[in-house]
Amino acid sequence: SQTIHQWPATLVQPVGSPLSLECTVEGTSNPNLYWYRQAAGRGLQLLFYSVGIGQISSEVPQNLSASRPQDRQFILSSKKLLLSDSGFYLCAWSDEGTETQYFGPGTRLLVL
């Protein structure tokens, strides 16, 4: 069966520091991968998605970037965090060509 992992689970970072969140998927090949953010009191905002290694689509202009160095690995990064980057970050995967996405446990990021 497929599983999706995210780490760390919780992160507290100072403003201006770098960020790296990692997501890995097991039990499937060539998945579509997604990064979402859930800000307090808001819905799920799609940040990036990838349909293959090295292929990244950005949905909103922002302080973040994403990379997919391996088929089942998706990384969310920032060179300098802003206070507004605080939130709950979710990674998700889906099989190519299917709509249903499956989410990881999430990472809670607090930027101080």
Binding site: L90, E99, P105
Partner: protein, 113 residues
């Protein structure tokens, strides 16, 4: 522009009664709809989905109804249980971009004894 809307931020229902969560959409190109359930500090879990060729899909206590002419879908939970207390998101995708889901802002359901 919010293409998927959940206008009720919260809903409170007594245990054993029916919970009805509503979702409206504006994009007539959406042809697949999903409901997710989310507990605090966890990732959303997939509940149930429906294709636009159907108007109803049922899975145990969960039923999703789709009214295409009204661009409206609803999730019915019968009977409601305290463990159903969570935030529920509806999501939609368009036939021309099945890889991408557009989520609503969520409805917090509280089921009380």
């Amino acid at each position: 522009d919010q293409q998927v809307k959940q206008n009720s931020p919260s809903l409170s229902v007594q245990e054993g009664r029916i919970s009805i969560l509503n979702c409206d959409y504006t994009n007539s190109m959406f042809d697949y709809f999903l409901w997710y359930k989310k507990y605090p500090a966890e990732g959303p879990t997939f509940l149930i989905s429906i294709s636009s060729i159907k108007d109803k899909n049922e899975d145990g206590r969960f039923t999703v109804f789709l009214n295409k002419s009204a661009k409206h879908l609803s999730l019915h939970i019968v009977p409601s249980q305290p463990g159903d207390s969570a935030v529920y998101f509806c999501a939609a995708s368009a036939f021309y971009n099945t890889d991408k889901l557009i989520f609503g802002t969520g409805t917090r359901l509280q089921v009380f004894p």
